[in-house]
């Protein structure tokens, strides 16, 4: 997207609207309207609104994505146990069915909202917006959004998060970034999870995963960790602390706008 005016004209499509381009002509009797808006502009609008909510309360929002079973919930449990207790955490859980993951989180004394998506394979900004109605953001420093386990669909939907973290677990194989470039390209941090299995599943080469990430021009840092034996956890916890302070610095320079809610319905935000 163009940073100046927010339009979506890029090198890839500008030729369509130039004189002589396919979208420049108008046939008789019909009116051609050039739009050039994202197909997800409704979602993106709500995502922006969510992000502003997080910013107003100085809350860092992190979207955790991975395939099912890569260890997102286990990572959150280990994080809750080990992160500085002055940092207050809330979790939004996305699954097709069950409250299982939210209950796992609540057992650690942390507030968790479960979103059951039914048959939907991803979370979207509207679902997060609904969840935020049940969360008093003023009580928290960080909100983790655990997306639906899926390496495809969640990548297309902005939720209003500040950062994307993608887990790549050792049993999945090291070539996932080459197979799912859309998701891995959007990652601000890649975690090679279940690293305690590296000695057993020795066909997973972290170096190869790194190369595949370079192939998609990813500059995201890569950390190896195990929620089970806690190896590598400290680097992840340091990264979180660092991101919280970076966000706070950013908000000092760019304070959140106290927007007038453009909600079409009346409701109260907690």
């Amino acid at each position: 997207m163009c940073d100046t005016c927010g339009c979506n004209i890029t090198h890839g499509n500008e030729n369509f609207i130039k004189p002589g381009g396919k979208l420049h002509k108008t046939q008789s009797g019909k009116e051609a309207i050039t739009v050039l808006h994202s197909l997800l502009s409704e979602n993106d609008h709500t995502a922006k609104h969510n992000r502003n909510h997080f910013d107003q309360h100085q809350v860092l929002a992190i979207n955790l994505m991975s395939s099912p079973g890569a260890g997102k919930t286990a990572l959150l449990e280990a994080t809750i146990q080990q992160l500085d207790k002055n940092i207050k955490i809330a979790v939004i859980e996305g699954d097709l069915e069950t409250e299982n993951d939210a209950e796992r989180i609540r057992q650690h004394g942390v507030e968790a909202i479960q979103i059951s998506t039914g048959s939907a394979c991803h979370l979207d900004a509207h679902m997060i917006h609904q969840a935020l109605h049940n969360l008093d953001l003023s009580k928290f420093d960080i909100v983790f959004i655990e997306n639906v386990g899926n390496l495809v669909c969640p990548a297309s939907f902005d939720l209003g998060q500040h950062l994307n973290v993608t887990l790549l677990s050792v049993p999945e194989g090291d070539d996932k970034p080459a197979k799912y470039p859309v998701m891995f390209r959007k990652s601000d941090l890649v975690l090679i999870s279940k690293s305690d299995l590296l000695p057993i599943l020795d066909d997973f080469k972290p170096e190869r995963a790194r190369r595949y990430l370079q192939d998609i021009a990813s500059t995201a840092p890569i950390l190896e960790l195990s929620s089970k034996n806690k190896q590598g956890m400290s680097a992840w916890l340091d990264w979180i602390q660092q991101q919280i302070s970076l966000r706070q610095q950013h908000l000092l320079q760019h304070p959140a706008t106290s927007e007038n809610h453009s909600h079409e319905h009346e409701h109260h935000h907690a």
Binding site: N8, G12, E31, S38, P181, A217
Partner: protein, 132 residues
């Protein structure tokens, strides 16, 4: 299969545009998709009849423009086409590149048929009057 959700969002946008321009129907929708958008064009096409049923865009021709993946090298500045999972510079092989295009998911244009039948009837009537 998130294409249905995306298709529903597309229909909702097209409906708003048609309403805004007081169109009676939509004859053509052009969308642009890059391979790095994460959306499969064929699945979007399959979802279209379901998502558009009963809307102003039902039976509308859906044209999909496939936008290429292009990168610019952060080192040598060369602009080149690339594969979705190989975003490296064709000129010097550097992996540190910036994406110029290829992740778009755009509603590019719509062609509307306006409700101007009344005007046409009036014109026809005056044309006939001149002949007689």
């Amino acid at each position: 299969m998130h294409e249905l959700a995306i298709c529903q969002s597309l229909i909702s946008q097209v409906e708003n545009i048609a309403l805004e321009h007081q169109a009676k129907s939509v004859s053509l929708i052009v969308i642009g998709i890059g391979p790095l958008s994460g959306v499969e064009a064929q699945l979007l096409k399959n979802a279209y009849p379901v998502a558009s049923a009963g809307s102003v865009a039902e039976n509308t021709q859906l044209v999909i423009e496939y936008l290429p993946v292009k990168v610019k090298c952060n080192e040598c500045g060369c602009e080149s086409e690339a594969l979705p999972n190989k975003l490296i510079c064709k000129q010097c092989g550097n992996w540190q590149t910036s994406l110029l295009s290829g992740d778009e998911l755009l509603l590019m244009s719509v062609e509307l048929e306006k409700d101007d039948t009344l005007d046409d009837t009036a014109n026809d009537a005056s044309a006939n009057a001149n002949i007689h």
